[in-house]
């Protein structure tokens, strides 16, 4: 049976497990019909021209892994940022793991979507925010149809969360192939501040398909920093749909570090509903083999006097492929917008490919919008220079790549995350440099 049919025919079983007498379920049902109509995206869709899910969809996934699988912390410690204290919301095969998690309701809610959906205490927030900015496209609809579990984060007015929050989704491979659809909701009220680290991690070589939707609402004067660490196994594919709505004077940054996985598709969407907003979208992609990473970004400047900064760096080796599609829309009312987009790519092999496409749609006349895109090889002259000073070719290449990616790391605010990313890059490049850049 094809995956779509399998999913469609399992909806009744899903409904048996959840409360269907709620407003949320009306949203789910509508999304379900939408997915039923649309199906999975194909390369015929402009937005999916360079990313084919065919190889991902052919697996016979277990759609709702229902087993409670336990894992030992010591086995997965390395996937956590473990050298600092953090809140943790951890899922194993889509099920909440209270054992690995560290949640709170003390002055803020760092907990589970399933309990937020079923507890009347959260009704108002859910009604106001759930599925309010998520698109009605194929895969977001699919996620919405089955939305039940994920992270629920609510930060009230004036609360500065004292430590970062980690959201980690493990898949154990207890099934031959596993599909999970985490649904996260993050609401940050006025003048509040939160830092979040998100990771999807398969623990075996069995195929995994994660279709994630995250909605983030950043109220007036709030700050949200989100770090996505994508360094999954070769058989794990991820479609990450993230939607961010910002209000006046808010600053939201999303850093995406893509070093692994099979097919990784990031749909990152920002909507600026207020003035003096700053949106920061950054990414480093370092892949090889047959890995594929696709960044589709959208920044919609709706009101005047806002800024957006995009800086994506990519290093592609062997037969890996990359896509960068950066869309910036500046509405007629959004005068004095300052939108900046940069996408630099290095191809280390003749067989590697990058498809880069900046898309600027500007309807206002008093704006500053810039974009720059480069595709090149590693600078051989620079490499010879380093070798001449005694730095071996391998280390020299790594140093050049480090330097190339460095502008993205500069804005990482959690030192432990920065040093982890540095280590991941060093490991990826097979070297150990004596310093962090």
């Amino acid at each position: 049976m094809e995956l779509k049919e399998k999913i469609v025919s399992s909806y009744l079983a899903f409904e048996n497990d959840i409360d269907i007498n709620s407003d949320i379920h009306d949203i789910r049902t509508e999304a379900f019909h939408n997915f039923e109509k649309l199906g999975f995206p194909t390369k015929k869709l402009e937005a999916w021209k360079y990313t084919s899910l065919n190889s991902v969809l052919k697996n016979d996934y277990s759609i709702f892994p229902n087993k409670e699988n336990a894992i030992q912390f010591s086995d997965v410690k390395k996937y956590f940022i473990h050298d600092i204290d953090t809140y943790k919301i951890v899922f194993i095969d889509g099920k909440y793991s209270s054992f690995l998690s560290d949640t709170t309701h003390d002055g803020k809610d760092v907990c589970l979507m399933s309990s937020a959906l079923s507890n009347s205490k959260y009704k108002a927030v859910i009604e106001n925010y759930f599925n309010k900015i998520a698109k009605q496209d194929n895969l977001t609809s699919l996620n919405t149809a089955f939305a039940n579990e994920g992270a629920y984060i609510y930060i009230p007015k004036n609360v500065e969360v004292e430590k970062p929050i980690q959201i980690i989704n493990f898949t154990t491979g207890s099934e031959a192939a596993t599909m999970v659809q985490p649904r996260n909701l993050i609401v940050v009220e006025e003048n509040a501040h939160v830092q979040i680290i998100e990771r999807h991690q398969s623990l075996t070589d069995n195929p995994v398909f994660s279709n994630v939707v995250t909605e983030i609402f950043s109220a007036k004067n709030s700050t949200v920093d989100l770090y996505k660490i994508q360094n999954d196994k070769d058989n794990a594919s991820l479609v990450d749909n993230t939607y961010v709505e910002q209000k006046t004077n808010s600053v939201v940054s999303v850093h995406t570090f893509s070093f692994g996985g099979n097919i990784t598709r990031n749909n990152l969407n920002f909507y600026q509903r207020g003035e003096h907003i700053d949106s920061i979208l950054k990414g480093i992609t370092i892949i090889e083999g047959k890995q594929h990473v696709d960044h589709h970004t959208l920044v919609h400047h709706i009101e005047p006097n806002c800024e957006s900064h995009q800086d994506y760096k990519g290093i592609y080796d062997e037969r890996s492929t990359g896509v960068f599609n950066g869309k910036v829309i500046v509405d007629k009312e959004a005068q004095k917008t300052n939108a900046y987009q940069k996408n630099n790519n290095v191809l280390l092999s003749d067989k590697a490919t990058i498809n880069a496409k900046p898309q600027l749609e500007i309807f206002a006349d008093d704006v500053k919008c810039s974009h720059g895109c480069t595709i090149g090889q590693l600078d051989e002259e620079a490499l010879f220079y380093m070798q001449q000073r005694g730095i071996p070719a391998k280390e020299g290449k790594a140093l050049l790549m480090y330097a190339f990616a460095n502008t993205v790391l500069e804005s990482v605010k959690i030192p432990e995350v920065k040093s982890r990313i540095n280590k991941l890059i060093a490991k990826k490049l097979g070297v150990n440099l004596g310093f962090d850049l």
Partner: protein, 249 residues
């Protein structure tokens, strides 16, 4: 120290060096002069091991060992230093981090531990004072936005840090004003010893007023066609290269 025997080299099938011989002993300063296109920079790059060139005949020996097949970093570990005519800009890597990496990679190749941080700092301080380099300069990205003079001073600073056996200065005087030239030359002179050797590649006699050579060679059409002492440089300055070309006919 350095012995080049009947060296033939080409790039993209274009023959550039055509039977070049040169012997440099420890404690000596050699100047290599010659008109544009004679093969001076090619020679420097080939000694340093640049892979664009193909050595078709002959070899290069360093302290009795044939280094013709060694990678550039291996030659560097053996004590070869090339001060580039056009030092490469490497954004994102500071001068300090770069030289630390270079020194520790060289030590690693020799089976030594990393240089202790305190010792490294002391050395950086001493050598940067020698080249009259400002502290702030050391935290800037390597060569990025440096003036011509700053780039060359930075090259000699790195030479001072790495303490090579054989230093090749490729057109180190180009792009230098007279003050920078004096600082750079003074630095080189202070680093000179009976155990190391310097090859100065230059168009002009000017630098040789400050770094006085023991031998001067004229490189023309891929070969050394004339050798002499420091007075040869003065003669070339006065008469140009044409008389040498005519002598050859």
């Amino acid at each position: 120290m350095l012995k080049i025997n009947n060296l033939h080299a080409s790039i993209d099938d274009k023959s550039i060096l055509k039977g070049l011989g040169l012997e440099v002993n420890a404690g000596e300063v050699h100047a290599i002069m010659g008109p544009n296109g004679a093969g001076k920079s090619t020679l420097a790059n080939i000694i340093a091991g640049k892979e664009d060139y193909e050595v078709t005949q002959g070899n290069i020996e360093l302290n009795g060992e044939d280094i013709s097949e060694l990678a550039p970093e291996e030659r560097a570990h053996n004590g070869v230093f090339l001060s580039f005519q056009y030092p490469v800009e490497i954004p994102g890597v500071s001068v300090t981090n770069f030289i630390k990496t270079a020194i520790n990679e060289t030590r690693k190749a020799k089976g030594l531990e990393d240089m202790p941080a305190k010792e490294m700092l002391k050395m950086i301080r001493e050598k940067s004072e020698l080249l009259e380099i400002d502290r702030k300069f050391l935290s800037r990205s390597l060569n990025e936005g440096f003036s011509g003079g700053e780039k060359k001073r930075n090259e000699i600073f790195q030479m001072a840090m790495l303490e090579p056996k054989l230093a090749i200065l490729d057109e180190t005087d180009s792009g230098l004003d007279i003050d920078a030239l004096r600082i750079v030359a003074n630095g080189v002179n202070k680093l000179k010893s009976k155990d190391n050797a310097v090859i100065v590649i230059t168009h002009y006699q000017r630098l040789l007023d400050y770094i006085v050579p023991d031998f001067v060679h004229v490189l023309y059409d891929g070969k050394i066609v004339k050798s002499g002492d420091a007075s040869l440089a003065l003669e070339l300055e006065a008469k140009g290269y044409d008389w040498i070309k005519q002598e050859l006919v």
